[in-house]
């Protein structure tokens, strides 16, 4: 196991957000966290690199407890791609180089530069290397954000709705990159998602949250019409095409 989450709970003051979250993940796997708005998907993701400190439970990466580690140590193990990233007047290369922060002493080394160059090529950003990120589109910015998390050389990649503001081509490209990175390297990825069909296409494992607890977890076969209706309150049918499952919402009247 690369990631072991056991009994994680979080609450803002007295209002419980998530509780009893337990799952594990192997290298090369992609986990999709699904559920309606406000159910605690992002909170769970943030608990997994202690941007929010869980009030109970433990998060282990390769057996090492994150809750007792310091931030820099965590940043060398977990890469986090937030939903939105502020675009300062920084070049693409420098924005990605920032991902080396957990490894940088006083200044960057040739090694850091080489790693960033490799990541920039991997995400096909080489032609944009010296462009300022405040002049870039949402899709390009998202790629920069992912490249930044990759050069942290993490074991676990956390992505908060990586495709939420992207067009179809960019969605497929970004998720393809996540797929490629997890298959080619000893890395696991956890993403929160709204698009069930994209999740079914790219993820191996699924967690469906309802009222702050895990309602269902497992492989693609947990995504059934009954569970989707229970979690989202929307009647659906699950169709198959080319081996992939597709969730098709039904009109409420026809249900």
């Amino acid at each position: 196991m690369i990631l072991d989450v056991d009994g994680v709970a979080f609450n803002y003051r007295s209002a419980s957000v998530i509780r009893d979250i337990t799952f594990d993940l192997s290298p090369h796997q992609i986990l999709a966290i699904l559920g309606p708005n406000g159910v605690g998907k992002t909170t769970l993701l943030k608990c997994m690199n202690t941007i929010l400190r869980p009030k109970a439970g433990s998060v282990l990466i390769e057996g090492a407890d994150l809750l007792t580690a310091d931030r820099m140590e965590i940043a060398r193990k977990v890469g986090y791609v937030p939903q939105r990233c502020e675009a300062a007047r920084l070049t693409v290369f420098d924005a990605v180089l920032l991902g080396r922060r957990p490894h940088i002493g006083w200044d960057v080394t040739d090694k850091d530069i080489r790693i960033v160059e490799a990541a920039v090529r991997m995400l096909h950003l080489e032609d944009l290397k010296l462009r300022y990120i405040d002049e870039m589109s949402g899709g390009e910015l998202q790629k920069v954000s992912i490249a930044r998390a990759l050069v942290q050389e993490p074991r676990v990649l956390l992505l908060d709705e990586p495709t939420s503001s992207l067009d179809l081509k960019n969605q497929i490209e970004i998720l393809g990159i996540v797929r490629h990175v997890t298959t080619e390297h000893d890395v696991a990825a956890v993403m929160t998602m709204h698009d069930l069909n994209m999740a079914l296409r790219y993820a191996d494992r699924f967690i469906l949250l309802k009222d702050g607890v895990i309602h269902a977890a497992g492989g693609p076969d947990v995504v059934t019409p009954e569970i989707i209706e229970a979690v989202y309150g929307v009647p659906v049918t699950v169709e198959r095409y080319n081996g992939y499952r597709f969730v098709v919402p039904l009109e409420p009247e026809s249900a």
Partner: protein
């Protein structure tokens, strides 16, 4: 995960070199400006002689240090350079560097382009402290020479009071941010509130002051780099250098914070601690400068933005660039202030905005340099 080693990209390395050249160019410009600034004034001294006098003066002082008891025999040029113009020019550079670096740090810490030593009420707190000292403690006095119409008969008490109130303002903001969790909005708003509070306090005191006291307070408020003695200059230079080094050492953390708090935390930066410590350091350097020299506006706000327009937001270049720009702007302003209505010498605070605002508006209109 592991990356197969990529190559060192020549285009990027060239880009970094160009940024460094900009900063180096600024340093050269600052040095030339220093010579020019010292050479102009009531007695003009050719730049070459200024240069010689500075070099000889340094050699003589080292000699004096190694052989105590030697009697120096400075020429009248040396006296003008070393006793009057050099300390003033250096004070301008040090204050410019300090206010500018405090400004650039606060803009990043507060995630607010209006961040500067003023935003947090530090300057106004200092002015209030000076007013308390002059009016309540009676440390102000007027005398009648033309060049220096007002003196503070106990300048150390005034400086100390200004400093205490600067720190008080900082402490209040830190306390509020402790309660509310170091959020930038809270810091900015608390600073604005404190700033108004201290301004009102100063006005209240001034209303009940007599003419002499009023003149002394107003005089103090006009920031003037001609006030500093060599010792005070030494203190300011030490604090400014230490603060600048601290900010430069944290350049990657500020870059990370500029990318958003969550990104920064994900990159291992302890955002709240960096905010709190950065605030204290920026406040301290501003407090020292304001206490010794009075209120000098605009430099802290505008220099970082000028540099942003010239070389971008990357803190690796922005912080040192702002230091250099601050020195240049304040020294240039002071030089102009000394000669523009000669034989009168204006306080530099009047000139910083006169000189800086048009340049800044030009840069805003022109947008970023490609």
């Amino acid at each position: 995960m592991h990356f197969a080693d990529g190559a060192i990209p020549a285009d990027y390395m060239g880009y970094v070199r160009r940024k460094h050249l900009w900063i180096l160019g600024g340093v050269v410009l600052l040095f030339l400006l220093l010579i020019v600034s010292i050479s102009v004034g009531a007695v003009s001294i050719p730049p070459y002689e200024v240069f010689l006098s500075i070099v000889n003066g340094i050699v003589d002082r080292i000699h004096l240090l190694l052989n105590p008891g030697t009697v120096l025999n400075p020429s009248s040029t040396d006296r003008i350079v070393w006793n009057i113009r050099l300390p003033q020019a250096l004070a301008a550079i040090v204050a410019g560097v300090g206010l500018s670096v405090a400004g650039v740090a606060m803009q990043s810490i507060l995630r607010n382009p209006l961040g500067s030593p003023f935003t947090l009420g530090i300057s106004n707190a200092g002015a209030f402290g000076a007013a308390v000292s002059v009016i309540v403690l009676g440390t102000g006095q007027m005398h009648s020479s033309v060049a220096d119409a007002v003196t503070l008969n106990n300048p150390y008490v005034t400086t100390l009071m200004a400093f205490i109130f600067c720190l008080l303002a900082t402490a209040v903001i830190l306390l509020i941010s402790r309660i509310r969790g170091a959020s930038p909005e809270v810091m900015v708003l608390a600073g604005v509130a404190l700033s108004s509070l201290f301004t009102a306090g100063t006005m209240f005191l001034q209303y009940f002051a007599d003419d002499t006291q009023l003149a002394a307070v107003v005089f103090w408020t006009f920031g003037d780099v001609g006030r500093a003695s060599w010792q005070e200059l030494g203190i300011m230079a030490f604090v400014t250098a230490a603060a600048s080094l601290y900010f430069i050492a944290n350049r990657w953390n500020y870059n990370a914070i500029d990318a958003g708090d969550e990104t920064a935390k994900g990159l291992g930066v302890s955002v709240e601690a960096i905010r709190d410590i950065g605030m204290v350091v920026a406040a301290l350097v501003s407090a020292v400068i304001v206490s010794f020299l009075g209120v000098i506006g605009f430099v802290g706000l505008v220099c970082p933005h000028m540099v942003r327009r010239l070389i971008g937001d990357d803190q690796r270049f922005l912080i040192p660039g702002s230091c250099v720009m601050g020195g240049i702007l304040l020294l240039a302003s002071d030089t102009v202030a000394r000669v523009i209505v000669a034989p009168y010498i204006l306080p530099v605070a009047v000139l910083t905005a006169f000189l800086g605002a048009p340049v800044f508006i030009y840069l805003l209109l022109r947008g970023y340099r490609r």
